[in-house]
């Protein structure tokens, strides 16, 4: 168990900077997920913690010791790679026990510890096999066993589930969670899959373009996204965004055809804002219901437990998630309603969250647009 402190960490490759000054603190025993689109620098950050990538600027400290100049083996981290990186010429037992062999652990003790790890991961019957003869899920377990056996202070996961099929991914996800509860080592898990991130994380770090956009629990990140990027990246289908302009008495939306009555402080009249609303927060009502927006149905995606309805709102694509068993015909008109407290406001310029807007209509009355 160890805490990790990242201070002003940057990474340059030749002339391009891919990580622009990251500051993060991971508490001991915490399960942190770094989420972001590909190329956002999340893997690079992980590899800098591991010692596989040089740190261009700033410091990374594990348990209070700055590790910038330490070799990977001296940092006490274990890593699970995306492609598993199993040694193809070694058996499962040799793969798991390799770090002990390097450390000079006697072969009797080694075999015993390999057995113990294999039992936890249900790999006992596969110990003599070569990685080639294993399925994806089994390889994944071997890779985890190889990390576990070292009893590391820190576990690093570099998109370890992305090569598995959907069913195995769900299964391995819960196994990783259980393992973490059992070992309670500090874990850093990198992924671009938001479902993985939401389900695994104690704390979520959302990265974009080499910067940290938001740090918080999955619930916080979902309910109070710190930026427009986070709002649209976390949650599926993505949050709906409407462009608006601040007016004297509120907001004008959809090119002035709609008005939203909100009070504001400190935002000048005429500035552009983006108004976000989660598809889950939108209610479908009969067209023509007073105060409801009218939209045209484009497409319906059946999810079994619910359905996603894609509509056209005055030329802006908009989506609704509903569990009601309604099947509006494509091309027909429907009404949309939502509570004002479910609205998120972002600056159109910087993308930052604006909390200066207050919904003027109190709950539970539905918002009128």
């Amino acid at each position: 168990m160890a805490s990790i402190a990242i201070r002003g960490v940057k990474k340059n490759y030749a002339k391009t900077q891919v990580v622009h000054g990251v500051d993060l603190d991971f508490a001991s025993g915490e399960f942190v997920v770094i989420l972001g689109p590909s190329g956002c620098g999340k893997s690079t950050l992980l590899r800098m913690i591991a010692g596989l990538e040089e740190i261009s600027d700033g410091t990374i400290a594990i348990d209070g010791t700055v590790v910038n100049r330490l070799e990977p083996r001296e940092r006490g981290c274990a890593m699970v790679f995306q492609n598993y990186a199993l040694y193809p010429h070694m058996s499962v037992a040799q793969n798991i026990g390799y770090s002990l062999k390097v450390a000079g652990v006697a072969s009797a003790e080694r075999a015993q510890r390999v057995q113990a790890v294999a039992r936890v991961l249900e790999l006992e019957h596969l110990l003599d096999r070569k990685p080639m003869a294993l399925s994806g899920g089994q390889r994944q377990r071997v890779a985890m066993g190889r990390a576990m056996i070292r009893e590391p202070k820190v576990f690093l996961f570099d998109e370890p589930l992305s090569n598995l099929d959907a069913k195995l991914r769900v299964q391995m996800r819960s196994e990783i969670r259980k393992l973490h509860r059992r070992l309670s080592a500090t874990s850093v898990f990198v992924t671009h899959d938001q479902v993985e991130a939401m389900t695994l994380a104690d704390r979520l770090v959302v990265m974009n373009g080499g910067r940290v956009e938001q740090v918080g629990t999955p619930a916080e990140v979902y309910s109070r996204p710190a930026s427009r990027f986070v709002a649209t990246f976390v949650g599926a289908p993505a949050m709906n965004m409407l462009e608006g302009t601040v007016t004297l008495d509120g907001l004008s939306l959809l090119g002035g055809s709609r008005k939203l009555n909100v009070s504001r402080t400190g935002v000048p009249v005429g500035s552009k804002v983006a108004v976000g609303i989660r598809p889950e927060a939108v209610r479908m009502v009969a067209p023509g219901t007073p105060g409801a927006l009218t939209a045209t149905v484009d497409l319906i995606e059946e999810l079994g437990a619910g359905r996603v309805i894609y509509v056209d709102l005055d030329g802006v694509p908009f989506s609704i998630v509903t569990s009601e068993t309604v099947h509006p015909e494509p091309g027909s008109s429907i009404g949309l309603q939502f509570a004002e407290t479910d609205l998120h406001f972002f600056s159109s310029e910087t993308g930052a969250r604006l909390d200066v807007f207050k919904a003027s209509v109190p709950e539970p009355a539905p918002a009128t647009l």
């Binding site: 010692g51 596989l52 990977p72 083996r73 492609n83 990186a85 040694y87 193809p88 390097v102 190889r146």
Partner: protein
Amino acid sequence: MEKRVTFSKWTIGILFAVPQLFLIFTFFYWPAGQAVYWSLTLQQPWGGGNIWVGLDNFRSILSNASYWDSITASMIFAGISTGLAMTIALVLAALTDRQLAGSWLYRVVLIWPYGIAAPALALAFRFILAPEAGFMAVVNQAWPGFWDPGLDGADAMASIIIAFSWKYVGYNFIFFLAAFQAIPRSLIEAAAMDGSGVIRRFWDIQFPLITPTIFFLLVINITESFQDSFGIVDIMTAGGPANATNLMVYKIYSDGFKGLDYSGAAAQSIILMLLIIALTIVQFRFIERRVHYR
């Protein structure tokens, strides 16, 4: 998965194979068969018939001490030059693999020696290793008589080994580098995370994973050191001094074309062919077992 190509009519398959078979027959089986025939007869040097002598040619060659010296010299040459060419290439490739910037340059530059004709490079090395004017002249000045391939058999052997290895280092390097780069980076990184240092990683991870390449190069290098050494020997030492570098392939030439003993030379080439076949079989039987194919 079915990878075999199938033809609706067997005649089409035969037709496709014919050009290749024709080439192999013309340039390999026919001359080889001719050599076998000659080795069993006594050929007249200026033509005009021959006499069937059975295995007499082989008997006389194998009972000749100088032929056994030639076999020994060839073995020493093959062993040392293969070892040298492969070890140097392996070290160079391992170092290059770690620092990849500009590796394309090494690749291009290092393949050149292989592209140089043996006599040309032999001539160059004759100057480089000349006892009175080359690199070794400096050493000779300090220790007179230390290096003289013209008089000392060991020095002469060393010269042809150096020249041959130089040519094959480049060839081997290309294969080794390709093999190293085919190893996924993450394997090396995983080993580093497992606490393995550079040297340990090389022996535990990289070396076992390039064994298929090592095996391939071993077979090629040994075979070539028996066959491709002619040009180098001819230019640098002409088999001398005192037959110290009279390798089997050179002896075939000198006995046949200088000594005009065509039948004896034919028998020698049969023996050389059998020796290479035997060595290759041994390598496949005993060394290939230790190869890890992925």
